[in-house]
Symmetry: C2
Subunit: 200 residues, 2 copies
Amino acid sequence: MKMTAKPIENLINQLNKLPGIGSKTAQRLAYYIIDMQQDEVEKLSNSILDAKLQVKECSICSNFTDEDPCKICSSSKRDNSTICVVEYPKDVEAMERTRCFNGLYHVLHGVISPQKGIGPANLKIRELLRRLEDDSVEEIIIATNPTVEGDTTALYISKLTIPLGVKTTRIAYGIPVGGDLEYYDEVTISTALNNRRELK
Amino acid sequence: MKMTAKPIENLINQLNKLPGIGSKTAQRLAYYIIDMQQDEVEKLSNSILDAKLQVKECSICSNFTDEDPCKICSSSKRDNSTICVVEYPKDVEAMERTRCFNGLYHVLHGVISPQKGIGPANLKIRELLRRLEDDSVEEIIIATNPTVEGDTTALYISKLTIPLGVKTTRIAYGIPVGGDLEYYDEVTISTALNNRRELK
């Protein structure tokens, strides 16, 4: 006979479904939540539901947003001649943190993966091509990850965008800044070798 | 200007307040939650609120419960001559997992800690003594952690229970089963030495 109170067990089970939350962590979090102030628990519970209910995809770039078009697409300060193509909304966050890119984004919501049954039609590629119809876009920067799927997707998109006369680039892949050769695999190092630049 | 949608940012902030959830993990969880099925999100959100609202302390043992008295205190199958005293409700879980203890529990909800301003009056010690008033309890097993606070609390309780004629014991501390001497600190090893038993 299980002696844990039902609502605690239920909370542990729900938390345990989240990625990276094992049963030990779920238990620790559950007891922490029960010890929290009630208004803080309400805030947490509401923020989860609100994020799900209020967040939609931007009709232009498909990034997550609570207003349509999203803040980036509707900003007058962004350079709308460049579109950076990423796999997921979290990649937009990562790019924005650099403060180095001032163009627009396009979120594919995945990569081509025959194994998972994901083809080009399941991604926001049609929506990307539609954005190229007016001539304001001069460059597409493809920032999908350097994986087989990410590379395939980059190649697939470039085959469609280059014939339209849009400059299509891919961000550089190599040894991360601060990284140490010793710790990186052969593929990363050979990529870094192949992408070497002449010092002048 | 922050470009993340407000409800996402809010969810990340709320998750970030939980112990062991850093900003990276909070972000990963937030995007995962937004991608979950809506009914699953509702279950998660409700389980958090329900755990807070429905879980109370048992009026006998102070363990978390949704019915009063709790399942353990009201069970006819438990041996009510033995009470195991623990710091927190999660310690009851840990003891129950062993399936080795069939007595009752008493949850102190903390340990004596002058630094944190926690004295005996802030713990459920008075409630423990009240349980000893009828003569059914024969043994108190103190299972507070082997820390300065845990030891102090054990000593404090034993000074009150021994004069009442109740056998008072403390669980053994030493090298964990499967552990390796090499990995344990001097205090653990010297405790294990002092608590040595004669092999016969």
